[in-house]
């Protein structure tokens, strides 16, 4: 047990140590030293996680550090929970994290504030590990807020550009709106259960009746938190803007790890969600709608990172749809494969951007497959994976989700398949416009250094073979990941829904055929003759609407920002300047006025004084002798 405790503490402590080293030494460390230390810390953390993982005995271990908040009946420990779910997330976070740290050494080495960057990246890893390892909601919340803060810092890393700062603020504030739900959910659960430890909450919650309004409220509020962090409708507009940050940040935070925190949270509380069918429906439909939303908006974006951002939104929608159907195993599976291929896509995009000296507009790329070979190949693998081409990893996870959605709700299934076609369309549009055709830019492209391409290759391999983790029965596999995770989440919903083998084969055939069809269409449109989009203003109405993100930003501006500004202005101009300040000033004026009035009594006329005194004596005597 001592070994497990020590390792469990080391896992988050190592990145924290990295924060201190790179943070305090940010003036003295060279770019490579800082990057090397930061990467080493996360790598060590990965090794520790791996040891924990290999030694895992299927039990849930609580590593209790100290009592954090203790008031009255509330005793919230600072504790870690080591079970299959957290172990799996630790592996994903530290594993992908190590690769992205490594990649960042190459990507960021010219930046003057590279050590600060690595400190913040390490701080993110620390927060993310706290998030997944927490043994109660509140410790998770530490990480939850911590990753939000790191996200804010890293989005606005190049702080001299006001738009980036705005994007960072937007991300943080929208996350905070989700946190409102999270905080309220925690307050509710504490009120109901008297504890926030996952084990106890799940045990007590599991005893309650299905559909209990309390559980429904709690799960809905938790889900609000999840929508904020995982960029689901309606709190998703921050994620595309978050692409302002350096590309490794987008890969690590806004694709592979942080945005999946919402999924993690729902899986963590799966016992409660199982008891709230109403919430599950909402989760399903929010997921489906987000998947469709992201996929449609991705169609007409011209910024390479924006396309990937909307793709992330869309893929997160898939994950939530899976959770909505109760298929937590495939949800987590998709988290994993998505982490592989989306991190790869971002890193490859970063490599392209690096190669082109900062250019992000796909209309000014093209023909890069000859120059940046490694990047091209890895990008191609990732694209095939995300489109669900068998036997790459995306195929297994996405197909699992589609199958369980079909079992739960065929309409949702149809929408998701449509979204998968759109995904294939915009991903291949991206691929073709970037790597095929002729070069349309001005800079001189060059392949990235080894330190950047090695992570690409590793991730490409993972994207390709990641499906092996969870091979379903019909291919003769044993759904290893599902089985593994089931030990953590009490087994509920971890097994895929039972469809007949025939139906499954049919579904796979349908989706694969449709995706291939779409790829052919994209090829004919972008590879054969290179169709470029203009500015949104020149587009037909529906296309313009989609390209402008269904006007969601404008809607929010009209719905929230404007009224907020209006209230703020009028609270100040009326509440403060017209009411409150005159009130204080009035106190002063009233005192002065009263004094002015009272000083008339001081006439200086002694007869009057005598008179007043006499009246006083009379009154006093009357009071004394006639009251008793």
């Amino acid at each position: 047990m001592v070994k497990l405790d020590l390792l469990a503490i080391l896992v988050p402590a190592l990145p924290l140590l990295g924060v201190f080293i790179t943070g305090f030494g940010r003036r003295k460390l060279s770019a490579y030293a800082a990057g090397g230390i930061a990467t080493a810390m996360v790598a060590l953390s990965f090794i520790a996680s791996l040891i924990l993982f290999l030694g895992h005995d299927g039990q849930t271990h609580i590593v209790h550090l100290f009592s954090w908040i203790h008031v009255g009946a509330m005793d919230i420990p600072f504790a870690f929970q080591i079970d299959a779910l957290s172990l799996w997330m630790m592996l994903v976070v530290t594993g992908i994290g190590t690769l992205i740290h490594l990649y960042s050494i190459g990507y960021m080495h010219d930046d003057p504030r590279v050590a600060t960057f690595f400190a913040q990246l390490n701080l993110f890893s620390f927060s993310m590990l706290l998030l997944v390892m927490g043994a109660n909601f509140l410790v998770t919340f530490i990480g939850w807020e911590g990753v939000g803060m790191c996200s804010y810092l890293l989005i606005g890393f190049w702080y001299t550009t006001p738009a980036f700062n705005y994007a960072g603020r937007k991300a943080f504030v929208m996350n905070r709106i989700g946190d409102v739900g999270m905080l309220l959910a925690m307050a509710l659960m504490f009120y109901q259960f008297g504890t926030l430890n996952y084990v106890d909450v799940m045990q007590q919650g599991g005893l309650m009746a299905s559909g209990n309004p309390l559980i429904v409220t709690a799960t809905l509020l938790l889900f609000l938190g999840a929508t904020g962090k995982s960029a689901q409708l309606p709190l998703l507009t921050w994620l595309p803007d978050a692409m302002a940050g350096p590309t490794p940040v987008s890969a690590l935070i806004h694709a592979a790890t942080m945005v999946t925190a919402g999924v993690f949270l729902v899986v963590r509380s799966s016992v409660l969600y199982e008891l709230a069918p109403y919430t599950q429906d909402i989760v399903l439909w929010v997921g489906v709608a987000t998947a469709l939303f992201g996929a449609t908006v991705g169609l007409f974006q011209n910024d390479i990172k924006k396309v990937l951002a909307y793709s992330t939104v869309s893929q997160l929608g898939y994950m939530f749809a899976a959770l909505g159907t109760g298929d937590y195993g495939n949800g987590m599976f998709h988290v994993t494969t998505h982490a592989f291929f989306k991190a790869l896509l971002f890193l490859a995009a970063g490599s392209v951007i690096h190669a082109l000296g900062g250019e992000q507009d796909i209309r000014k790329m093209g023909g890069l497959k000859g120059v940046t070979k490694t990047t091209y190949v890895t990008f191609l693998i990732a694209t095939l994976a995300i489109c669900g081409i068998p036997p790459l990893s995306g195929f297994f996870s996405k197909d699992g989700i589609l199958a369980s959605t079909f079992a739960a709700n065929p309409v949702a299934y149809a929408v998701l398949v449509f979204a998968a076609m759109l995904t294939a369309f915009y991903m291949f549009r991206l691929l073709f416009l970037t790597f095929f055709g002729t070069y349309r830019g001005t800079a001189h492209p060059h392949e990235s250094p080894k330190v950047m391409t090695v992570p690409l290759v590793v991730l490409a391999i993972l994207s390709a073979i990641g499906g092996l983790l969870n091979i379903p029965h019909i291919f003769g596999g044993h759904s290893w990941l599902n089985t593994f995770l089931a030990s953590a989440a009490d087994g509920i919903g971890m097994h895929p829904l039972e469809l007949s083998a025939g139906t499954e084969w049919t579904l796979m055939a349908i989706s694969t055929a449709l995706v291939l069809l779409t790829i052919w269409y994209a090829w004919s449109l972008f590879c054969k003759k290179t169709t470029l989009d203009g500015e949104p203003a020149d587009m037909p109405f529906l296309k313009r609407l989609i390209a402008k993100r269904w006007m969601l930003d404008e809607l929010y501006a009209w719905l929230f920002e404007k009224p907020f500004g209006w209230i703020s202005k009028h609270f100040f101009s009326i509440g403060e300047e017209k009411i409150a300040v005159p009130l204080t000033a009035g106190t002063g004026k009233a005192t002065l006025g009263f004094g002015e009035w009272l000083r008339k009594v001081q006439t200086g006329n002694s007869s009057f004084y005598l008179f007043a005194m006499m009246v006083g004596v009379v009154v006093l005597l009357i009071l004394t002798y006639f009251s008793a």
Partner: protein
């Protein structure tokens, strides 16, 4: 001596109370209504005397010389007060050519 005793006690103490209250009130009304400073001073003397009278009456009825000593001191103080008061009056008349009480309200500055 017995004669003196009954003689003193023929008049009830209440009568002295009423008398001195009456004198006091008259003095006070005078101090209120008159504007001539010297008359006001006279009224003050009148009020002092009404109190003196009461003190002496109580002293006689209670056979306590203390009250009479107090009257004695009151007279001393009254004499001193009148001396100073009248010299102020003279000064006032000399400076303002008036003995009107209301002139004195300038003192409030």
């Amino acid at each position: 001596m017995e004669h003196v005793m009954t003689a003193i006690r023929v008049v009830p103490l209440d009568s002295y109370l009423v008398l001195s209250f009456l004198l006091f009130s008259i003095g006070m009304v005078g101090a209120l209504v008159r504007r001539n400073v010297i008359i006001v001073i006279m009224c003050l003397e009148l009020m002092l005397n009404s109190v003196n009278l009461l003190l002496v009456a109580f002293s006689a009825y209670h056979s306590d010389p203390g009250a009479q000593i107090m009257v004695f001191f009151i007279m001393l103080v009254a004499a001193a007060e009148v001396t100073v008061g009248l010299s102020i009056l003279v000064l006032m008349k000399r400076n303002t050519d008036s003995v009107d009480m209301n002139i004195l309200n300038r003192l409030k500055w």
